[in-house]
């Protein structure tokens, strides 16, 4: 007997279909995963199921929950939503009310669902323990909780009505690797304990493979493939699924490259402190130490990865090296010239470039892509106009795009294309050191592999030195020759990827490795 039965669901906005004839069912206690890229209609499916489609959307087809059709009446739907279907949203930062304590919000969800009986407070405490929080967390406001803790509060709220079906929409994509694993394990445990059905939406194949027993692959609003996990992941029938699986495995190897030379960049005792607002006039707060006496060096031609949880100081270090921030103490030496951040000598600017994490924020929406990509060429004084023009064409071709795209504006490109242009902009001055700040974490899994292969090829072709910042160990394995692990502003461990990832010495490194999700290549063979 199916708990949720979706038949021929079509959702369209002003005549344009977002979802086309989606049919699936979820049995009691079954775990159902939906995989797709951003914009494929995964979230719309979930919103249609709980009856929260945005205004302007028209839905056709039938959705039946527990034998009966989904009620049209908003009041009846609201009851179903809290009591029978729970939902966890993607962004834990915005899905909690900032003005109420976490406990009060869970209690509200519980009262609205008619649960909790006489002693709501005790019931809330029990729920907090179930999702791995302490009872004391109930008295805190959302801004006093970390991202992972907020997501746990969201899960507690979803569980408050003792639902039969839990819908999770990319619940971990805003979290760092260790927290992601903990939240996934929590969802896994809760579903097992409560015998609850799960609808899990993600673009991350590994997360879906870990949690779900049956899988539906969607692309551009249509179902590509659906079936048992072992079938879909083990013997994919459709090309798109095969492509996704291949992209998830990411097995690009470094090509030939320039031999590793002597130290190119040396970081000596770099410390960065940020002033924090004082508690009161007479009670100053100690400065926040983002970097604490960091010593490291990058050799010419190598690819060094900086790994660590969010808040470890990786990006701060990168910004100091690139001259966007300054260090409070210590110095940086590049090519025998010493600087401290902001005072990066102008002659070195063209030698160090930075690729930003978010391909959507790194281009001015009012300039054409060409104007943005050509911007660093102002550093190439004394080079002829024609040569600069050739340079642009060359670099755009090098990242696998066509020069006629240069007249278009950033919003006309996908995330992957923008990131390629961002790499082109970073390479246009022919730098010696390229800093890559989480270059693929904002991209869909299916394009991550391509960008990583591109980076390896560019490194081989141009003899570049990379400083890669990441919390993704799979990526580090592919691109890095050497890894440095950072935590709380300090370097705690370093080594080659092989030795460090096989035999970690420090607890944090072990946690990071344990948190990475099992390869899907292995799962279906079981």
């Amino acid at each position: 007997m199916a708990l949720l039965k979706v038949d021929n669901l079509t959702v369209s906005f002003a005549g344009t279909p977002i979802l086309e004839a989606v049919t699936f069912m979820i049995g009691k206690g079954q775990r159902f995963g939906i995989i797709g890229e951003s914009g494929s209609g995964k979230t719309m499916t979930a919103l249609a199921v709980i009856g929260l489609l945005p205004e302007g959307a028209t839905a056709a087809g039938t959705i039946a929950f527990d034998g009966g059709p989904l009620p049209d009446d908003e009041a009846a739907r609201a009851k179903l939503r809290g009591r029978r279907i729970g939902m966890v949203f993607q962004e834990p930062m915005t899905s909690l009310n900032p003005l109420e304590t976490a406990g009060a919000q869970v209690a509200e969800a519980m009262t609205l669902a008619g649960q909790g009986g006489t002693d709501v407070k005790a019931e809330v405490e029990r729920l907090f323990t179930e999702v791995g929080l302490e009872a004391a967390h109930a008295a805190r406001y959302p801004h006093e909780l970390s991202g992972g803790q907020r997501q746990r509060v969201m899960i507690a709220m979803a569980l408050a009505g003792k639902p039969d079906l839990l819908i999770c929409d990319e619940p971990t994509s805003a979290l760092d690797l260790i927290t992601q694993r903990m939240v996934l394990d929590l969802i896994d445990r809760i579903c097992t304990d409560r015998g609850m059905a799960l609808m899990f939406i993600s673009h991350d194949l590994k997360a879906v493979a870990l949690l779900c027993t049956s899988i539906m692959v969607v692309r551009r609003g249509k179902v590509v493939e659906m079936g048992d996990k072992l079938d879909v992941l083990g013997h994919p029938k459709q090309d798109y699924t095969k492509l996704l699986l291949a992209a998830g495995r990411q097995r690009g190897r470094a090509l030939m490259r320039a031999p590793i030379g002597t130290d190119m960049l040396v970081v000596r005792n770099v410390t960065r402190r940020y002033r924090q607002p004082d508690v009161s006039l007479f009670q100053p707060r100690p400065p926040l130490v983002a970097l604490d006496s960091v010593n490291m060096s990058v050799r010419a031609g190598e690819s060094l990865a900086l790994v660590g949880p969010s808040g470890a100081g990786k990006s701060t270090l990168a910004r100091i090296i690139a001259g966007l921030d300054r260090c409070s103490d210590g110095e940086v030496e590049f090519d025998h010239q010493i600087y401290h951040g902001h005072d990066l000598p102008k002659s070195l600017r063209r030698d160090i470039s930075l690729v930003f994490q978010d391909p959507f924020g790194s281009f001015n929406p009012r300039l054409t892509i060409g104007e943005s990509v050509a911007e660093p060429l102002r550093l190439e004084q004394g080079t002829g106009f024609d040569e600069l023009g050739q340079r642009i064409v060359e670099v755009v071709k090098a990242v696998g795009l066509s020069p006629d795209m240069l007249d278009r504006y950033p919003h006309e490109f996908s995330g992957g294309q923008r990131q390629r242009f961002a790499i082109a902009r970073a390479l246009i001055t022919r730098p010696r050191l390229v800093i890559l700040d989480e270059p693929v974490s904002a991209l869909d899994v299916s394009v991550r592999g391509e960008v990583l292969v591109l980076l390896n090829r560019l490194r081989a072709d141009y003899g570049l030195t990379f400083l890669v910042i990441s919390h993704d160990l799979d990526m580090v394995r592919i691109v890095a020759d050497r890894v440095i692990v950072m935590d709380k502003g300090r370097i705690i461990e370093s080594g080659t990827p092989a030795t460090l990832l096989e035999k970690p010495q420090e607890q944090l490194t072990r946690d990071l490795i344990a948190a990475s999700l099992p390869d899907i290549g292995i799962v279906p063979v079981l």
Partner: protein, 287 residues
Amino acid sequence: MTSPFDSIKSWFKHPSLRIGAIASLVFLLIGFVSVLWTPYPIETVSISNAMQDPSLAHWLGTDHLGRDMVSLVMKGTLTSFVVATIAVAIGAVIGIPLGLAAASWGGAGEWAILRVNDFLFAFPALIIAILITTLFGPSAINAMIAVGIFNIPVFARVARGGALSLKTLDYVAAARLSGMGPIEIARRHILPNIASLIIVQATIQLALGILAEASLSYVGLGTQPPATSLGLMLKDAQTYALLKPSLALIPGITIILIVIALNLAGDGLRDQLDPKLRRLGGARGVA
């Protein structure tokens, strides 16, 4: 892909923007026509024709000096727009660079600019404008300067606020990596992206400027005869308010209409230019 023409067409679907923009343009046009032509010269006094009722010769009648009211309203509208526009320009030209500089420098420079801003904000603008015009003599030019000074902190705040939110974006960091100085970054990356905020603010300040000019002229510190402005017409009419209320009502209603038109246009522009509000408006439109 939408062409610019489409986007302009979609703008005019917004009702308050459409009404506001068209009404503002009509008043502006009336003002400009008065430069070249008015039905009667406003400098000619003809006591024998004083206080006439509306007729075919004088559509809105004549004032206590026998001048044609239509001509006076046309000239007065022009004066109001010119004074308010120049006051807004003074505020924008000085205020925007100050705001951008504050956002770009940070630290002590920002603090100094903000405190001067607060200092200006702390004074009731109109009272200080009265002080300035009494000190330097009543004239339309001094009124412009006085009103303009109090537009400076408004534009400085808007520019700083917009710049601060853009400053942390990666493309600004990328521009710094390309060796761009703060002035170039402001010109190339910040200004085009905060232009919409500034246009909206300018429309609203224009409405306030027209009111301020009218107030100053009303107390006799703005435009001086034989030139005229809507405020000056109100002042002249107050003596005869009981005898002939239309003399006060006509300039008064004109001021009200202009200010409402500009505010509607400003509100509509803000809705259109703010992408968040536009999305809401769009969804509402579909539903």
